[in-house]
Amino acid sequence: MNEFLQQLLNGLSLGAIYALIALGYTMVYGVLRFINFAHSDVFMIGAFAGFYLSRYVPRESLAGGFAVLVGAMLICAVLGIVIERLAYRPLRSHSKLNVLITAIGVSLLLENVGQLMFGAKTKASPVLFPSKTFTFGGLVVSSNQIAVFVVAIVLLIGLRFIVMKTRIGTAMRALSFNPIAASLVGINNDVVISFTFGLGSALAGAGGILYSMNYQAIDPLMGVLPGLKAFVAAVLGGIGNIPGAALGGLVIGVIESFSNGSRWSTWTDAIAFTLLILILLFRPGGLLGKLEVEKV
């Protein structure tokens, strides 16, 4: 029973990180109907931003940790906005396939520039928050995992507030329903799209920091697999649906944690993709989403 709870806890912790990344995918899909392939690499940049920023703050301090987190989120937000401006906006009138290919190009560019600039070798993650391990009657909880939960919950509540209660959040939702109508009522689509990218990228950056805290190592290709799994999570929850992405992230994290602890651990990656294919076959709308009918 203990083992089960421990795996569950690890899974929820991992799932929270996947949820943060999945939110970026789902928000961009919501406003642009486009899957941002480069999102996983923004996650990686967030982790590296944390690595380099951590040199300027004292180790293991709470304030220092938060400063690095906020710094990384800002850097990633800017990166996301720049990418959208340079690579995606000029192609908005082109076929979706072209934008997808460009996104793949941006993703590869970030990965390879990262390898060149940071070196392809794995680096040890900086220690950001005071690290302690707590034991609750047999369950081992590290302070890093607590940090993950706290940060993830705060960010999720913040996101919900932005999306539901602010004007720009309402504009995002309007855009996701109907871009033309949104511009007709006076919304500046370009600004809202840039904001969406910035927001999603900031969350990915936070995910990068949290991931590096929990997994001790960072490298320029670290974004590929978590990114794909987070995408699966977004689809699982219903792509375009924000609570869905959070739910999907948790589900995928828990499944992966249990899979890693079982004797089929070498198949863990395949499990995530198989899940994706099954969802798209049997419930393409995802757990919480609605299926869009293609109108002629």
């Binding site: 192609l91 009138s93 082109h94 997808l100 793949i104 560019l109 070498t266 993709f273 994706l276 798209l280």
Partner: protein, 318 residues
């Protein structure tokens, strides 16, 4: 047009037979590069049928290549010795063995293509790309978990049966098959499914069948290319058939112009030579690749070799 194509096909096959006979005189390094070009032509042209002509954006082509490579290698390694012993082991016996191995690889890859194509029937654009990517990864993980085929360490000891003749004979066959298919009356259906599936269905075509045929055929030839690759490199491992490999083939198709077979062939040649040319700056190869993709999409999304008129048709119509 078809008569000319057939003449061309037999011409190339004979020429490659002749070239193979003379291949002892060619610098081995050049020989390697040329064989690499031939294999990439098969991969790019087969992917072009799926991506370019039928408009199904598949990012898992390396997976089919892997299936073909492992299957044909398994035939050569496990079945080969019995076969050769029964037939006396001469050149003709080896040729027959290799032919069987390649066909086996292609066929199993085609089955994989069917398995990948079937779920793809309902998916469009982005989703299809991700699912095919996922399938490619699943195939890779499966091979990594089969100890009999080497597992994560790869399969070694594959006999080096590949030579100029085999590669270019199959390259010619691939180009002929794809071109003949697409230019036939039946084949217009591929283009129809690409342009507007709903309209195609309204006209009485079955988009499902066309997509499946495209995946099947494309996967078959990718499997053949995989078999040729395995018997060229003497050993294969799952890492060599990952997402990056798929992307490299996709870049060839995009550079050449989706749906432009001649352009794709030229692109395959260029992109096989590029790493060799860039060898002094090999570290920057992938950066060049990715910048190429981005710049190409921003400035000339129809590919380098497609004329402007066709390009206009590629823009969004809604």
């Amino acid at each position: 047009m078809l008569a000319r194509a057939k003449i061309l096909l037999f011409g190339v096959i004979s020429a490659s037979l002749g070239a193979q006979a003379l291949s002892g005189h060619i610098n081995p390094y050049f020989l390697d590069v040329i064989i690499g070009i031939g294999i990439n032509i098969i991969l790019a042209v087969s992917l072009n049928l799926i991506n370019g002509y039928t408009g199904q954006f598949s990012l898992g082509h390396a997976g089919f290549m892997a299936v073909g490579a492992y299957t044909s290698a398994a035939v050569s390694i496990f079945f080969g010795p019995h076969f050769l012993a029964r037939l006396g082991g001469g050149g003709a016996a080896i040729a027959l063995l290799f032919f069987i191995a390649l066909l086996a690889g292609g066929t199993v890859a085609a089955v994989a293509g069917l398995l990948v194509g079937a779920p793809s029937l309902r998916l469009k654009g982005d989703y299809l790309a991700i699912v095919t990517l996922g399938f490619g990864e699943i195939i890779r993980v499966i091979f990594r978990n089969i100890p009999a085929l080497g597992g994560a360490l790869g399969l070694n000891g594959i006999p080096g049966y590949t030579n100029l003749f085999w590669v270019f004979a199959f390259a010619a066959l691939t180009v002929y098959t794809v071109t003949a298919m697409v230019n036939s009356t039946y084949g217009k259906g591929f283009l129809a499914v690409h342009d507007n599936e709903v309209a195609a269905e309204a006209m009485g075509l079955n988009p499902t069948k066309y997509k499946l045929v495209a995946f099947l055929t494309g996967a078959f030839f990718a499997g053949i290319a995989g078999g040729l690759y395995g018997h060229f490199k003497f050993s294969i491992d799952p890492k060599g058939f990952d997402f990056i490999k798929s992307i490299e083939i996709v870049v060839m198709v995009i550079l050449g112009g989706m749906g432009n077979t001649v352009g794709v062939i030229i692109a395959a040649v260029i992109l096989t030579l590029l790493p060799e040319v860039l060898r002094p700056v090999a570290d920057y190869r992938m950066i060049v690749y990715s910048l190429l993709l981005i710049v190409l999409m921003l400035t000339r999304p129809q590919g380098l070799f497609t004329p402007r008129k066709r390009a206009l048709a590629e823009r969004k119509t809604t």
